[in-house]
Symmetry: C2
Subunit: 245 residues, 2 copies
């Protein structure tokens, strides 16, 4: 075995937003982050979606930051009354929070250039906990931040994506998770027994089976995931012999 | 005040699936369920996504079923080795589980009609906890089930949606959550102060503010939600006077 046996860093995501829970908005950030973390070699182990409620946010941050190497949050860092994420993260981790000069300077430069007043509401976006490292926002200036192992980012998908790109190079990833997919044009129930036996023999890999239909016929995608390319290709060869023969 | 002051039933969702956490699949069931529960007068308060791992599933079921009136699960009830939801839910709630005759009969009829063998793998889908009530599956027969306050459904979106339609009439809803949206063609930071003051005065309603851009200009959707149509329309009238004047 190689150094890939060292486990990858683990991660959780906390999506903050009534608009997701009410069905108004379909989440896009979870899907985007999941893919980028997989490529970066960080294992996303759990996602929680909570409402814009202090107890829910504080409880979620504490539970996840204690259980995983990294926590990524999405949403609730704008200028309006429902944007309470920064204050809740500070409280969850016992940090002081106030308007910070480096964040205020970023906002001032951004709004000055557009001739827009940096009023009290917009200044809320400069509330950053003591000790936090800013996450750049190349789109609308108001920064995210990392406090301990909690990385706080915007909910608007274009801004969230840009923040993720600014943040990821700072985080040490492990071996990227590799995956291969095989389409099998038989019902899941047909292939379940041999697939289960193979999954047991290759216990260092993960085997998923996802049914679909084509032209009314049952079919399934078998997805094999792991960090060792050699093991993965051995398993795929056996899978072909077993299921496509 | 009317009887709408009685709180709606609360709910959580547990999405089970490595394919969501790895970024392979974009979740659709959360979005669908969120909308249907809102219409039915059940408040979705939290969603968790966990991997196909017994401890994660059992822990999630216990935490959520203790904290909310209803828990809806999605995923992991097919015939393959990674389909462990039914057994995990039974363990989480201390119920016995085995192949149940009513579920076996549904599967037998379905597969007989197609001339397909009801083999051992497919029979796994008849494993139903003692005391559970079946949730019909009009698409591929293999049923979901309700055990206590936990409702176990398939991960394939067409089947999940059909199971939700079969289940909802059995669940008592409260007053449907109503919402109204107003587009404001000004930056969030511009409207934050008057909006916050209004939200404070209408504390029985929830006010969300969701920024977007149109033709490069800042704009926002203000969403007001509540269960009393009269209060909602009063708030919207004040909002119009305040922000569109």
């Amino acid at each position: 075995m190689t150094e890939t046996t060292k486990p990858n860093p683990s991660a959780a995501m906390l999506v903050i937003g009534d608009e997701i829970l009410s069905g108004r908005t379909r989440d896009a950030n979870m899907y985007h982050l999941a893919g980028r973390l997989t490529e970066h070699g960080i294992d996303l182990c759990e996602v929680r979606v909570v409402s814009d409620n202090p107890d829910a946010i504080i409880g979620g941050v504490r539970a996840l930051s204690g259980a995983f190497d990294h926590v990524f949050t999405s949403g609730g860092i704008g200028p309006t009354h429902d944007d309470i994420t920064a204050d809740c993260v500070a409280r969850a981790l016992g940090a002081e929070i106030d308007i910070r000069e480096d964040a205020r300077a970023l906002l001032a430069a951004h709004y000055d250039a557009q001739g827009i007043e940096l009023n009290e509401a917009r200044l809320r976006m400069a509330r950053i906990p003591d000790g936090a490292v800013l996450i750049p926002n190349p789109i609308s200036a108001a920064p995210g931040f990392s406090l301990g192992n909690v990385h706080v980012m915007a909910g608007v998908p274009t801004i969230f994506d840009a923040m993720v790109e600014g943040l990821l190079p700072r985080l040490t990833g492990g071996a990227p998770m590799l995956s291969e997919t095989m389409a099998i044009y038989r019902g899941e129930g047909e292939i379940a027994a041999p697939l289960g036996a193979l999954a047991e023999r290759f216990s260092d890999l993960s085997f998923g089976c996802y049914p679909f239909q084509r032209d009314g016929a049952y079919a399934a995608h078998v997805v094999v995931r792991g960090r060792d390319a050699g093991r993965l290709s051995t398993a795929m060869a056996e899978l072909r012999d077993l299921l496509l023969a």
